[in-house]
Symmetry: C2
Subunit: 171 residues, 2 copies
DNA sequence: ATGAGATTGAGAATCATACTCAATAAACTG
DNA sequence: CAGTTTATTGAGTATGATTCTCAATCTCAT
């Protein structure tokens, strides 16, 4: 199975290298603050282990499994702690599980941290790519979601459009 | 966690008991024939073990896990065979895995057997409900899927709109 | 019927994830 | 800041879902 290909994070691309670093750093710091706040609000400590998980996910170019994160982070955080951190962060709504492929669960930052997006799932290599769509299209999706939910007496809270097919590499 | 509530299968409801039995039987037989054909086309034998899995899924009112199927079917088919049957049927496109909840995978009949539908996922009880939507809405979804895919150089092959929220029982 | 190849059963093996418990760190109290 | 309380971590073990192994059995084409 091909490794996760690089793809753009769902934020505006800065134009010059200097700007880039400033923006990325600014964004990283802001994200840290948001997460810290959220945890504090829920009486959950923002410890080193939890911090590295969040930072690692923030730098990731796609959803990561516990094993992948462990590889990213190195041996300083044992797997059992990693799983615990992920569970805690999921509880706090900082991190979202993505049950895409066989058996393993991948996590990504929650939408309030990473932006709303949909998924392109490659049925050949298993890679899950995030896609942001233009507001006009998103409006249509939202309307559809509301209509469908209303017809089924369901109270929608979020949605994901998963498109399955072949990614550009596997075509 | 609440058990899967009963819900209508995605076929036309017959109106009288007699008609009902005839239709259900007719449908069951037709489904059997379709599956048999598909397997034959792929040089895969339609054995007893595989047949009971398909029949069991056809009678199910929602996606079923291997363990649940094993319970439905009884001890005549050991778990290891069940998993193998599911893998073979998935290969042949008769059965589709649904990776919804923690760790376990649930299966349902493929869309060409059960009809195209979307999912309402209850974030409280975990129940996944199938919904069929009217053609006019489905057309919109299809168009969105095509536009999004085109913009991402992705070759779409199928799609699922997953709406998360609270089901009518959990509201 | 017969032989080649596919399939099954039963069990052991593997893999992701969860739990246990003693050691450690953080927050709180005065 | 020292002492106390409570949350968190590490390391290891346990669990549960899924997969593999291999001998026995079944199927299909001859």
């Amino acid at each position: 199975m091909r490794q996760v290909p690089p793809h753009l994070p769902p934020r505006a691309r800065p134009s010059t290298p200097l700007q880039a670093e400033l923006n990325v750093e600014g964004h990283a710091r802001q994200l840290e603050r948001q997460v810290e706040q959220r945890l504090r609000d829920n009486d959950i400590r923002y410890t080193r282990g939890r911090r590295v998980v969040v930072e690692s996910l923030a730098e990731s170019d796609g959803p990561r499994s516990a094993a992948e994160l462990s590889g990213d982070i190195g041996p300083s955080v044992p797997l059992s702690s990693l799983y615990r951190s992920l569970a805690v962060l999921e509880q706090a709504g900082v991190v979202i599980p993505h049950h895409g492929a066989r058996t393993i669960t991948r996590y990504e930052l929650a939408e309030w941290l990473s932006g709303h997006h949909h998924h392109l799932v490659c049925s050949n290599c298993g890679f899950v790519e995030d896609v942001e769509i233009p507001e006009s299209q998103e409006d249509q999706v939202r309307k559809l979601v509301e209509d469908i939910s209303a017809a089924a007496a369901f109270s929608p809270n979020g949605h994901a459009l998963e498109i399955e097919g072949l990614c550009s590499q596997c075509t």
